[in-house]
Amino acid sequence: MLNKDKSIFALSTPWGISGISVIRISGKGCCNVVKTMCSIKSPKPRYIYNCNLKDKQSNIIDNIMAVYFNSPKSFTGEDMLELYTHGSIAVIKRVLLELSYIPNLEPAQPGEFLKRAYFNNKISLIQAEGINHLIKSETEKQRIVSSNMSFNGTISLCEKIKEDITYIGALVDATIEFSEEDENTQKSNIEKLIYKIIKELGSQLNGIETTRKIFNGLNIIVFGPPNVGKSSLFNLITNSDNSIVTSKAGTTRDLIQVALEVEGYKVNFTDTAGIRRAKDDIELIGIKRTTKKIESEEKLMLVLSPDSYNKRNVNSLKDLFNKISKKEIIVIFNKEDLLNFKKAQKKWFNALPFLKKTSFITTCCINKNEKHKILKKISKFVKSEFIENERVNDNNLFFTEYRHEVHLKKCLKFLKSSYNLLEKVELCSEELRLALKEIESIEGNVDSEIKLDIIFNKFCIGK
């Protein structure tokens, strides 16, 4: 719920030491702040003031820049004030405290500026969702999808789909309203047009899966027998010491996850406990989790080493392979510096013929120079998921939310049934009307006048 009488404020830049910090205030309280803290009586909108920011006792807190925006010409549509202070934790703290003394001024809730912008009709729901994603974006691809949503891409697409459906509706209605006329509204044309939108929506629905993966990240699970160097590999590619590395088998017991950007995509690496018969209960739980995780994810990275070749390890991997034979696996033969490396590699191949079919590399994970070799393989994974997969074109990804999916699916359902009802024009038109409503639910409205407009501008009609 929004309370119009309350004004809100928040630090809009991160909390910490920086060149400048921006504090934003939205609502009628802005004037009060400008007057009391900035000593500006009637601020000129969109004008940059340089002024001293003062506390209640008129002591100078900081010398700042301030911009005032008058309603409705602001981000939120309300009066807004932006204060640019020095990026000092102490200054920020003091300013926020002083602001909280001002009546009817409250710290903003998360997303409250956006929410106000939405309710004041400055942005659409989709834009609000998009900006929200944009702020949270970490990878290039996340940014691209968020930009599509925030800056008109998604809205234009919705508008285009709406326009198309409205146009088809007009064609169908023309056959109803002007059946007496000898006008040329061919049914085959209508059929083609509906089919085209069905295809477009279908690909958008597929795209949602991709956008979801772009935001959630592609999961790659590093697994293998104990003490093959999984954690060393993990630390090498994630540039971290997140996983503890010892020479003791069974060191990693929990799943450890780190996110990276590869080829612009978010990738989540998970280090897992080595697969063997556990020595204690805690390790057992870790191994159970590992096998579960391996079975649930698509992309796997199996690490093997010469010194881990033994019957027990071979058998436990054999069991696992039966369950994961359809998944994409990269095999890393680690510790290539060991003497019997080639021989051991052969043994692994013979014991697990399945390995021959996978793409594998040999490396030594304690050597930092080997990183690019491994990353190259990971890029391949990413490419196979996102790029080689035809459905993805960054510029064609517009929907992210579950809400969008629900409406798109319903829209598709109505379109399909309109397609099947071409012989029953009035029902076909009804399904089109409902399809349109679903897109409208994602954003906006269509007046029935528009439909008629299209009919008349397109055809010569009139008895």
Partner: protein, 619 residues
């Protein structure tokens, strides 16, 4: 036919066109003391343009007006000379009854139906208001002097500052051969009503005997004509054929080379005409790639002596009209009886109206018909009926009567008109109704006749027939719902349905595509004995067929109603609602609605403004 004329009336109606006669009929039926003022009694129910009633959307309106006790349906049935159900091959929801009408017989029928009405053949001079309040008090007639009234319904059609154009010539008139109402126009200007100038046109009329029909394609009416009115048992007049011919390249050449003589193209007429009823000049100019346009030769009378060439409305000078007409196949020798012309007229912006058709500015003053910017006999009649009901109800202290978009085409008409700001004459289409599958011509009585009975508009015959029909429909439906069969059995009868093991009721099965009563009886022989007429059986089938869609629409309507029930907060101020136009804000401030529903019914509200308000109330 002689009535003692008095000086005091509850409701006075100005104008005897299609809006006026419905208003008068409704007001007097409800029990208000009613009088109608017209230039000439002979013009009561005159059809000044095409000799046809009904069609798509329009036929729906006639059925609804009839279901509410109006006269247009019966009068059309008494004078119809060719009945056709449009879209007969399409679903019932988009079928519209239409008929060619003998215009003289129509006028006679209307006069007959209004036998007991008090009529003044006179001209309005002035409208007087009460001294201190803005309320109608009386009208001053040229001959008869002052008449007091509580309510006044103005239905003057195109007569308000009417200006006829024919070629270079133009003159003041209401329609060809009738004078315009300029004094009334002055009243609306004085009272600062927002007016808007619109245009319409009509084709030349041809002498029937001068046309070579052998060269044209004959178009017959339905072999089993269906009447408009739920009361009509039988159609009496002989059915006549129409004929179809078309323009050709010579015709177009003549029009093009003379286009500068058309007042629409030489700048004389600036106001906008209806897009769906373009003049032949417009058609030729706008659709240059078309080498011909269809013309329907429609008889204006049973005798067939006057022919209305539908499709070539024009305002070309007389000699050009003659020239291009004679270039058309079958019309080589055609004699023009009356030239075609265009007419410009003033309309009152319907934003001036409440949804009862009463003006906001002046209490007791109602406007209905073409004066509100609509076009068409049916649209006018519908408004006349609603204005008549409300004017009478107000005088008698009864509740106002407003139909919504989900109730009837009449509701769609009202709510569309009340949005105001029409840029062209408003005509009904089925696509204007969101709930087209619910608002069918076949179920108008089901939707409205109970309301008519409550309002006192249904005569005994209508009430009796409807109550009997309602009972039969209910009994038949109940029986169908009580009988079940397995999908197996249904399939055996020839219907391809999902073999999911779920039993279906006879009602459900009757509603399937391609289902019918014969099939039902082959599955459930016991239903053979159902004691209802064929017509009622068909009605049940149509209802069953659309029911699943209607149910879905009902859900939507419910949702809308829930939203319209949303209350504004006590501190709601339209000024705070960003995104609204200043105009809408003003409307809200002036009327201070309590709920979203009330707000969305306010004239001048747009759907997008309503959705902004919805967002505002939800936040």
């Amino acid at each position: 036919m002689f009535h003692v004329k008095q000086k005091f009336y509850d409701v006075i109606i100005l104008g005897g066109g299609h809006a006026g006669v419905e208003a008068a009929a409704a007001a007097s039926k409800i029990g208000a003391k009613t009088a109608l003022i017209t230039f000439s009694r002979k013009d009561l129910g005159a059809m000044s343009c095409n000799p046809a009633m009904g069609g798509l959307g329009k036929g729906h309106l006639i059925r609804e007006i009839d279901a509410l006790g109006g006269i247009i349906g019966q009068a059309s049935d008494m004078s119809g000379i060719q009945f056709r159900m449009l879209n007969r091959t399409k679903g019932e929801a988009v079928q519209g009854p239409r008929a060619q009408i003998d215009r003289n017989k129509y006028k006679k029928a209307v006069s007959g139906l209004l036998k007991t009405l008090t009529i003044f053949e006179d001209e309005i001079e002035e409208i007087h208001l009460e001294k201190n309040i803005r309320k109608v008090r009386s009208v001053k007639l040229k001959e008869f002097g002052n008449l007091n009234c509580q309510s006044l319904i103005v239905t003057t059609g195109t007569f308000l500052n009417g200006l006829i154009h024919c070629g270079q010539k133009s003159w003041s008139a209401g329609r060809l051969g009738a004078k315009a109402t300029t004094k009334l126009a002055k009243f609306f200007i004085k009272e600062k009503f927002v007016t808007r100038r619109l245009k319409t046109g009509t084709p030349p009329r041809l002498l029937g005997s001068s046309i070579d029909f052998k060269k044209c394609i004959e178009q017959k009416g339905d072999s089993h004509p269906v009447p408009f009115s739920f009361l009509t048992e039988e159609l009496r007049l002989k059915q006549k054929a129409c004929f179809i011919t078309k323009t050709n390249e010579t015709t177009h050449k003549i029009i093009r080379s003379n286009i500068y003589k058309s007042p629409m193209y030489n700048g004389k007429i600036k106001s906008k005409g209806p897009r769906y009823c373009p003049s032949i000049e417009d058609k030729v100019q706008r659709f240059k790639d078309r080498i011909s346009h269809q013309i329907f030769l429609e008889p204006e009378t049973e005798a067939g002596d006057i022919i209305y060439p539908n499709g070539i409305s024009t305002a070309m000078p007389s000699n050009v009209q003659k020239k291009f007409i004679r270039s058309i196949n079958g019309l080589e020798e055609a004699q023009i009886l009356k030239d075609g012309y265009a007419i410009e007229y003033d309309t009152i912006d319907s934003k001036e109206l409440k949804n009862t058709y009463e003006t906001k500015k002046i209490e007791g003053l109602y406007l209905a018909g073409q004066i509100n910017g609509s076009t068409g006999y049916e649209e006018a009649a519908g408004q006349g009926l609603l204005a008549g009901i409300n004017a009478a109800n107000k005088v008698l202290g009864k509740k106002s009567f407003v139909l919504g978009r989900s109730d009837a085409y009449l509701g769609v008409l009202t709510s569309d008109l009340m949005k105001g700001g029409l840029v062209e004459p408003y005509r009904m289409f089925t696509s204007r109704a969101e709930y087209r599958l619910t608002l069918r011509a076949d179920n108008a009585d089901y939707r409205l006749t109970d309301k008519a009975i409550n309002l006192g508009l249904a005569c005994k015959d209508r009430s009796r027939k409807w109550i009997k029909k309602k009972k039969a429909l209910a009994a038949g439906t109940k029986l169908l719902r009580q009988n079940y069969a397995t999908p197996n059995k249904i399939k055996a009868a020839g219907l391809d349905i999902n073999q999911d093991g779920k039993k279906r009721s006879a009602y459900e099965v009757l509603g399937y595509n391609n289902s019918n009563w014969q099939l039902i009886i082959s599955i459930w022989p016991q239903l053979k004995k159902v004691n209802i007429s064929e017509k009622e059986k068909e009605q049940i089938r149509i209802t069953a067929f659309y029911e699943k869609y209607v149910e879905r629409q009902m859900g939507e309507i419910e949702e809308l109603k829930k939203e319209s029930g949303l209350k504004f907060k006590s501190n709601f101020n339209a000024k705070d609602c960003a995104g609204l136009s200043n105009e809408v804000k003003e409307i809200l401030l002036k009327n201070s609605p309590k709920t979203l529903g009330e707000a969305s019914l306010l004239p001048g509200m747009t759907p997008s403004a309503a959705s902004l308000l919805l967002k505002h109330t939800k936040k």
